[in-house]
Symmetry: C2
Subunit: 333 residues, 2 copies
DNA sequence: TTGTAAGCGTTATCAA
DNA sequence: TTGATAACGCTTACAA
């Protein structure tokens, strides 16, 4: 049973397709009687208008593009992004839009925008190294929202937690446990979120009067490997680690224990994100509402697209204390 | 700078839009000279035809739909699926198609197919509980490919490894190490892949003359929790575990070690998939080429769509021995 | 080799 | 309240 067209519905109902279109779009000027008749036929034949035809006619497609910057090889490996994605798809579906995966080169996004009449983009992991792209989007008047903090001039185009605050709270917690040699392991340092977290780290250290040791500040990617290798690269282990990603933290823990040391007795470890594995492994971490972040990015983007003022509140962040942090041992003070 | 239309290009080149269309579609009957002229204008203005208009005109959209069956809450949590997805997006991009995330209710896929002129679907995690849907696809002549084994009548609609063989090899390996009390922990038992793996498990046991103990055969979801809880539910631990997912294996290991037992000294553990975490944790596992599975699903689907005979070979599977398996201790024989 | 005109399935304009 | 008719941006008969 093939899908009917609006014209076929029209002749079945003995009206013009204009009238059917009016009914489909809930226009006021249709008599109650004809409206009922048309609706019942639409229902009977399970008619749904062709969305692509509607798109070229109405000039918008209800398609939203998803862009994974920062190298899909890293994005497509981290459960964190899966969770974001889940939030995105859930909300998109709810609001009647569709999500198109734009896996393309940076110079092709604008073409995709035009060709497929994409209405706006959601950016995963946009960093300061992508500002040219954002400027281009801005210039072409292309709506976009980033799921991670952006520099000030694009602040309103992102949904994110307060990364500065999250990191500061975590490091303060470690400091309150007596730690002073606290390592900071960043994932992509080009992400504003990580820059803010580094600030939070430094400010917390300053507040506690602990001098900052640059050799304890490292960066890599949000992966197990980064955590593992970074920990192995220390000549003398720090007494605590604040990692910008749970995956890094898990890798760090593995490195520590395979050296014969114990977590948290010898080294305390704090992660960031609170992915499922974090609770599985009892990892102390900075929890952010990842799923809601995905949902909110859609809400914000669609409000930009439809020019509605929707208030998307900043999401909360908090430290979840589990089993990988403890007071500094007297002996190592 | 807005996107031009084919008519505008046509007048810039002093030809009809038909001729421009011919050039765009590489039709033969255009003189070399006009072709050059049109091409240079297309290039100059960076013109790309509107894909949606092309779609309704040509009757195909170059859009492929992605369907996550079996509950997105499980799909969107497992790095395995991310890796599949990565393969899918990579190949789709290469072949000039687009991927649309169809996050919808089961009865809405056909509508989406019609509305957005989707050309076919890639199914993640289709199980025997989805045969109605597949039958419907078949009936409506909707191309689809599953990234996991399907029952015999739809065998050719899937790209998968030989799950039976993979499981059999793994269990044979455990048996060769002297193990007899080998637990089998399945993820969704509705997946053909897992049914086949169970068969492989049973056949290997039979070959070694080891009686099958049904209390050692368990099922759950492809998650850490399933592994963790299942291991905790045994009154006396088995000496070896074969898990149908690395995530399950990792959860199982965590449960074992938190009981004060050691892996592999007390219990050997084998996983399935070989996700990144598996190598990170030194997990012995059944390796399948996940990324290639994603790629091949696209190849196969597009060959169905375009009616080309493309040979998509079965992917290889092998046991990767790492640090979570060892010979059965004499004491526990 | 090129162009005219109709067609794809919608919506929008304007008149009746 | 309704319906012709044009329009959206493209492809495709059919003619020239």
């Amino acid at each position: 049973m093939k899908n009917l067209t609006i014209s076929e519905i029209a002749s079945l109902a003995n009206v013009s397709k204009t009238t059917v279109s009016r009914v489909l779009n809930n226009k006021p000027d249709v008599s109650g009687e004809t409206k009922e008749r048309i609706l019942s036929i639409i229902k009977q034949y399970k008619f749904k208008p062709n969305a692509l035809a509607t798109a070229i006619s109405k000039k918008h497609s209800k398609i939203i593009g998803l862009i994974a910057l920062q190298g899909t090889e890293y994005i497509f490996i981290n459960p964190y992004y899966l969770r974001v994605l889940h939030g995105i798809t859930t909300e998109i579906n709810k609001l009647g839009y569709q999500l198109m995966f734009c896996y393309a080169k940076e110079n092709e996004y604008i073409d995709l925008f035009n060709n497929y009449m994409i209405e706006g983009f959601i950016l995963l992991s946009a960093g300061v190294n992508h500002m040219n792209l954002l400027d281009e989007f801005y210039e072409y008047n292309i709506p976009f929202v980033s799921t991670t903090e952006l520099p000030d001039n694009y602040k309103s185009n992102s949904v994110d937690i307060n990364n500065y605050q999250g990191a500061k709270m975590a490091v303060e917690y470690l400091l309150s446990l007596g730690h002073k040699r606290i390592a900071f392991i960043s994932s992509f340092s080009s992400l504003m979120a990580n820059k803010e977290r580094l600030k939070g780290y430094k400010d917390a250290m300053k507040e506690y009067g602990v001098p900052i040791d640059d050799s304890l500040i490292r960066e890599g990617t949000p992966t197990f490997e980064t955590g593992y290798k970074t920990m192995n690269s220390f000549e003398t282990l720090p007494t605590a680690v604040f990692a910008c990603s749970d995956m890094i933290a898990i890798g760090a823990i593995d490195a520590i224990t395979s050296k014969g040391k114990k977590v948290p007795e010898d080294v305390s470890v704090v992660g960031f994100d609170d992915i499922d594995l974090a609770s599985n492994f009892g990892l102390t971490t900075v929890q952010q509402p990842i799923f809601d972040k995905g949902k909110n990015s859609v809400k914000k983007l669609i409000s930009l697209i439809e020019n509605k003022k929707v208030r998307v509140p900043e999401l909360p962040v908090k430290v979840v204390v589990r089993d990988t942090t403890s007071k500094l041992k007297e002996s190592t003070k």
